[in-house]
Symmetry: C2
């Protein structure tokens, strides 16, 4: 199981409630890809969302985001953390 950070751009003005709803939608189907979204952080001024997840592959993570309507192509595999 690998760990990932994916980044969404252009999410200017997104509210905390919208972030919650997007995260909840991911959680609802993540199991179908063996993915788990652990955390998400929002900067609505610069329009960025960071999602920390674990799963079998980048593609699996991105497929969940795609299916829940917030696709991104920017994803990093995290091989070390402190």
């Amino acid at each position: 199981m690998a760990k990932f950070m994916d980044v969404h751009s252009g999410f200017h003005g997104v509210t905390p409630e919208e972030l919650d709803a997007a995260h909840a939608a991911d959680l609802k189907i993540e199991g179908e890809e063996g993915v788990h979204f652990e955390r998400a952080w929002l900067d609505p001024e610069q329009g960025k969302v960071f999602c920390l997840s674990s799963g079998p592959s980048k593609e699996a993570v991105l497929r969940i985001h795609e299916r829940t309507g917030h696709p991104t192509t920017e994803i990093y595999e995290l091989t070390a953390e402190v």
Copy 2:
């Protein structure tokens, strides 16, 4: 106290030990700016480091990174998280 994600680019091939050392250097002086670096994640293949911190301002966070030898200008204020 606000929360921030800062991003470092160009850190290709950085080792987990180097990430540990960089984080330890930040922790050693962070108190001088009222900052705390909570977590850091590394993708050595794409050369990215993500640092999650709390502190009084973006500038305070960036000053710590600058003084410990790994400056960046890319930082986001996180006003919501899940």
